[in-house]
């Protein structure tokens, strides 16, 4: 059974149809990349899979672990192992990064019927994961994302993913705003989490990230539809010929 199966998905945002029939199958252990020009619907797809409820699904279905993903609330999907690394992470003033993440982890553990982790168990694990992403210990006690640089925010997203250990991770333009060193660190963090049980959907505008996170499949999204799918070499071809190439092909 596929981990994620999207069939004929149509989605409206503020009454505009953004996704116009997406079909996609993702198996455990695979890394899929969704590429496409600005405004093609990449972020909408990422967020609808994470169950953003203000986005309206008008047609189609999504099965995750064989269950109806579209019937789940965001927190249920999260507890079932769906994780979204946000393109624009929000700030939560007054709540420390460590407290936030421990609360999130314990919410997930509760859902699974596991014991909560106390601070004594949590902190060493948290520090280890921070090291993986080359993050300063100070960020542990700072308020979530408040006063973080763009790069620190993106690293913080991957840190959360490393702590929560999702089954299906969706990365929404995690590379945007990162310099080349930060990009490498983030990619290393992501690669360390690749495993036969875990699938990843990497949404990106540029091919650059895919030099570091090498995908098994690449899909090109244009105007709410996947117009082309292929292996990792498709990303290179896109880099070479630009999106106009697939756009032309799609309308042909």
């Amino acid at each position: 059974m596929a981990l994620l199966e999207i069939r004929n998905l149509h989605v409206k945002v503020e009454n505009h149809e953004i996704l116009k029939g997406i079909d996609l199958t993702v198996n455990a252990g695979e890394v899929h990349s969704i590429m496409g020009p600005n405004g093609s619907g990449k972020s909408t797809l990422a967020q609808v899979l994470a169950r953003r409820e203000s986005f309206q699904v008008t047609q189609g279905e999504v099965l995750y672990k064989g269950k109806d993903l579209l019937a789940m609330k965001p927190e249920e999907a999260a507890c079932e192992g769906v994780f979204l690394a946000f393109q624009y992470p929000v700030e939560i003033p007054g709540i420390s990064n460590a407290y936030f993440l421990r609360s999130a982890l314990n919410a997930v553990r509760n859902y699974r019927g596991e014991d909560e982790l106390d601070a004594m168990d949590f902190i060493p694990m948290f520090k280890k994961k921070m090291k993986l992403l080359d993050m300063d210990d100070k960020l542990m006690n700072r308020s979530v994302n408040e006063g973080f640089s763009g790069g620190e925010k993106k690293r913080n997203e991957i840190l959360q993913m490393a702590v929560l250990e999702p089954k299906m991770a969706i990365l929404d333009e995690t590379d945007s705003g990162l310099d080349i060193d930060a990009l490498r660190i983030v990619a290393n963090g992501v690669n360390a989490l690749r495993s036969p049980e875990r699938a990843m959907v990497v949404v990106t505008h540029y091919q650059r990230l895919l030099n570091y996170i090498v995908p098994d499949f690449v899909h090109v999204l244009v105007d709410g539809r996947i117009v082309k799918s292929g292996g990792k070499e498709l990303a290179l071809e896109l880099e070479d010929k630009g999106y106009s190439w697939v756009e032309a092909e799609a309308t042909a």
Binding site: R51, S54, P74, A104
Partner: protein, 485 residues
Amino acid sequence: MSTNVNTIQDLANREYKWGFVTDVEQEKIAKGLNEDVIRVISAKKNEPEFMLEWRLKAYRHWASLEKAQAEPKWANIHYPPIDYQDIHYYSAPKTKKSKTSLEEVDPEILKTYEKLGIPLDEQKMLQGVAVDAVFDSVSVATTFKGKLAEAGVIFCSFSEAVQKHPELVQKYLGSVVPYSDNFFAALNAAVFSDGSFVYVPKGVRCPMELSTYFRINASETGQFERTLIVAEEGAYVSYLEGCTAPIRDENQLHAAVVELVAMDNAQIKYSTVQNWYPGDKQGKGGIYNFVTKRGKCAGVNSKISWTQVETGSAITWKYPSCILQGDNSVGEFYSVALTNNYQQADTGTKMIHIGKNTKSTVVSKGISAGHGQNTYRGQVKILKNAASARNYTQCDSLLIGDKCGAHTFPYIEVRNASAHMEHEASTSKIGEDQMFYLRQRGLKTEDAVSMIVNGFCKQVFRELPMEFAVEAQKLLGVSLEGSVG
């Protein structure tokens, strides 16, 4: 959107857990207010002549204000006119004589406090907190008196202070909030029946937190307490106050006065968790909380800090203030005010800088949910001789849902050019983005709201004594239940 609003609604709809009524025999004076009522109250309390005279002066002043319809109208709150003749001004649980030990307190009343989580049995109490329990208009028990007396600290009901320490009462009563201060202060001065009295002598650091727990029980009764705290030279005291009331359809008036006096190098820390019955979801019932609180930093290097967490009451009208008279004195005000359903709050502070190098800090956090209306009103006044005075004001509003309101009215008056003033204000809304982010990490809606709200209030919570901070956080969660969807 709709889900957001629903959860906020759910949070708001959680029931008020302190709304039960205790069945005790009451002694009430008939409704209405006139000089005879004042005389009866004073006689019941066996007061010395100076008290009765002061009460009568206060009453006459209040009556003239009432006649002139001079009840304050400037606050951003709305309520039908109060019929002051339709209120009982004195209610007390019936007892034979004044109590000397807990065994003499009506077991029903002890049970009430037990139910509220305030055991009056000293063995069971949190270590380091002495409690004065005020039930309707009278103090029913004060714990740890012996231990405090060893340190020279006087902590007793106001009535007892009038009997045992009349010279102190006469010296300080009305010295910070005179009976003529305002409409509600005048009313309080005329009819107040009890409250707490604290006196910390020179050089003494009060060995434990002092706490008063106010409980309104009787119906159609106003509650008027008066608290007076005096810290002599070099003394320190931390005082906590908590309050609850039964659920009733009628609005009940609570008009208290608190006076603090800090002499040279003295420090008073006053913390409040106010949880009077807020009224139901449609705005029916609830306490009108019209309170005057003021501290005087009379001596050099003295310090007064007000910390308040206001979650209850149908209407809150209160401005805990500091008169910074001594040079180098410090005034602080940390406040969280939450309004949900149809609650209204008009609250803030006044910092009056008189002495040189005086410093004040104001941090106000207003949270509005449901149809709640939350107003911050603060005055900072730097007088002519207050050289190098400093004020920092920060006032933040958080909106939950789209039917509530936040309002800010700062008044700044500077008469000395060497003053440093800072004012920061912000308004934010718990948005769909924030909620989606937290829920995507696995947190349930109400936990997500409660996390955002607690983060918002952190600056204030960390000023509260530990046990109180935990209680305040829980209370905020309960008060918001049903407010987010």
